[in-house]
């Protein structure tokens, strides 16, 4: 495949915290339009990889490129501007803001609004604000009319599954090239999980985003992913198609223990 197919590339990314190596020489290549999953046991360094991509942590060594340009050393808001948006394993909505406001914050970088045009109510800002609100409602509409109806509810008061949906809508607000979902089905029952799988596929179809996923539930990963990387103790121990991962001895041993079968 041509190299401009590559959206995100991690080359030899390592991150140490004191004496602990949380991520150890990880290479990942995520191609445009893929749903790419990172799996691995607890503490394998999956969320740390997310934090290294989004600029929360800086790699101790190695490189992270987006569209061929290194984003190492970018602050998180610059990474977002460059086209990477994410959700969180432990949902981090702005609880004292409404659903609509949360999604509007997600659009922060995508509409103009400097202090002068806000204070003097310049028409360009008012237009942008109206357009942003319309867009926010459209994004909520992706999850159906019931989410649109919740637009003025405080995020704090939402059900768990709805909070996950709002996080995704908020992340979509920035029109990302790469959408990173950190355990999007954590804490969900089977029905909710099935629905989440459905909307993750729809996200790629409707918004044309590439998706990088951390997921614990194997049935979710296997069904969704074009490609899977397996982390264990900060190292990538396997990478491949779902079927290859399913039968990989190293993965079965590290991730499931000897007795379990996938």
């Amino acid at each position: 495949m041509a190299n401009d197919d590559v959206l995100l590339q991690l080359s030899g990314v390592t991150r140490t915290f004191g004496g602990l190596t949380a991520v150890d020489g990880v290479d990942l290549t995520v191609r445009r339009g893929q749903i790419y999953s990172i799996i691995g046991p607890n503490g394998a360094g999956k969320t740390t990889v997310f934090n290294l991509i989004t600029g929360i942590y800086r790699p101790t060594s190695g490189d992270v490129t987006l569209d061929g340009n290194s984003i190492v050393g970018y602050t998180p808001d610059r990474v977002l501007r460059a086209g990477v948006a994410r959700t969180f394993q432990n949902i981090r909505l702005f609880n004292n803001m409404t659903v609509l406001e949360n999604v509007l914050v997600g659009q922060h970088v995508r509409f103009p609004g400097d202090l002068i045009s806000i204070v003097f109510h310049l028409p360009n800002y008012n237009r942008a604000e109206r357009a942003a609100r319309a867009r926010a409602i459209e994004l909520l509409g992706f999850f159906g009319p019931s989410m649109v109806a919740l637009q003025d509810e405080y995020a704090l008061n939402l059900s768990y599954a709805d909070r996950r949906r709002v996080e995704v809508a908020r992340a979509l607000g920035s029109n990302p090239k790469l959408l990173m979902l950190d355990e999007p089905t954590a804490g969900m029952n089977d029905a909710e999980t099935a629905e989440a799988v459905g909307y993750i596929q729809a996200l790629r179809r409707d918004f044309g985003v590439t998706i990088l996923l951390i997921e614990h539930k194997l049935q979710v990963t296997m069904g969704l992913s074009d490609r899977i990387a397996v982390l264990d103790y900060g190292k990538k121990i396997a990478e491949g198609l779902p079927d290859e991962i399913r039968t990989n001895e190293l993965v079965i041993e590290a991730y499931l223990g000897r007795k379990a079968a996938i």
Binding site: V105, G106, I118, A171
Partner: protein, 321 residues
């Protein structure tokens, strides 16, 4: 100053009461403007900006310099007064806003990841620096300030309940500013960024919000409000400028912010008016009230905090994910 006798029952007593409330509301409006600066900054970086009262004091100095430069030495009226007041409010707001942003950039931002006490001490240091520079420049004494407002009463009942132009000016200006601030914070992109940063700075940054710009904006707003408050205070109540004004005034305003629930914008306004009214009533009704009022104000603070440790409108359990 306002050593009124203990109010007798009857109409005169009621007028005295109204007058004390009016004095409380006008003082409270200014406390509220300054309290907003404490609460905005605390809301976003959890710093008690002890220098804020001295930023306010510098607003009074700027007001004085401008009045002197304009050659105004006594009461003016009509549109001339309106024009001068508008000029003063804009100039002092810009000056104090820029001063506050500069302080944040030089003294607080380098300490943002330091333990909580470090920026607090820095704030105290900045407070003294601002005071000392003003003292060096202006001397240790109070400098008398001309009263700009005509003393014509708009309402005058038995010389007891009196409402003057300046009272209207204070309350109207404060309400307009508070309304504009609330529109800004609740309904605009930058206001949402401020609230998002206050709740979860890291998540806000991951949504593309530039934290440094947003914090600077918060200091700009807080400083501008202190500047507007300083103009109101100087031209209508103080009668003097003094390098030490910011100390007690800042403490009152800070108390107002804590009383209302620090970090909560509505709380700062509520706390400001409450402190003004408690002060007004204790001056009117307590023997030696003008001396005791400070003790009463802080006594009320302690009492409120005993029953509601987070202030009237403060969150009971702050949720910081």
């Amino acid at each position: 100053m306002h050593t009124m006798a203990l109010a007798a029952a009857g109409p005169a007593g009621f007028l005295n009461f109204l007058q004390a409330i009016k004095i409380g509301i006008t003082a409270g409006a200014i406390y509220a403007l300054v309290a907003l600066g404490y609460t905005l900054v605390y809301g976003i970086i959890e710093l008690i900006n002890f220098a804020h009262g001295d930023v306010f004091m510098w607003g009074t100095q700027v007001t004085f310099v401008l009045i002197t430069a304009l050659g105004i030495t006594s009461t003016i009226g009509g549109w001339q007064l309106v024009g001068v007041l508008a000029l003063l409010v804009v100039a002092a707001s810009v000056f104090c806003g820029v001063l506050n942003v500069t302080i944040e950039r030089l003294a607080y931002r380098p300490l943002r990841r330091a333990p909580r006490l470090a920026p607090l001490i820095a704030a105290i240091a900045v407070s003294f620096i601002l005071e000392n520079i003003a003292e060096l420049w202006r001397g240790p004494g109070q400098i008398a300030f001309p009263n700009l407002f005509p003393s014509t009463a708009l309402i005058n009942i038995n010389q007891t309940f009196v409402v003057e132009y300046r009272d209207v000016f204070i309350v109207v200006l404060a309400l307009v500013i508070m309304f504009a601030l609330s529109r800004f914070i609740l309904g605009t992109k930058l206001g949402r960024a401020m609230r998002a940063t206050a709740q979860d700075p890291e998540a806000a940054q991951l949504m593309g919000v530039n934290i440094n710009t947003t914090i600077a904006l918060t200091f700009l707003l807080g400083g501008a409000l202190a500047g507007a408050g300083a103009v109101v205070f100087t031209v209508s109540t103080a009668g003097y400028v003094w390098f030490f004004t910011g100390f007690q005034f800042g403490l009152y305003a800070f108390t107002a912010a804590v009383l209302g629930g620090i970090g909560n914008v509505n709380g700062a306004v509520l706390g400001g008016f409450m402190i003004g009214i408690v002060e007004g009533l204790s001056i009117a009704y307590l023997p030696q009230g003008s001396i005791l009022s400070t003790a009463v104000v802080f006594g009320v603070l302690v009492l409120v905090l005993v029953f509601r440790p987070t202030g009237f409108l403060g969150a009971q359990v702050p949720d910081k994910a």
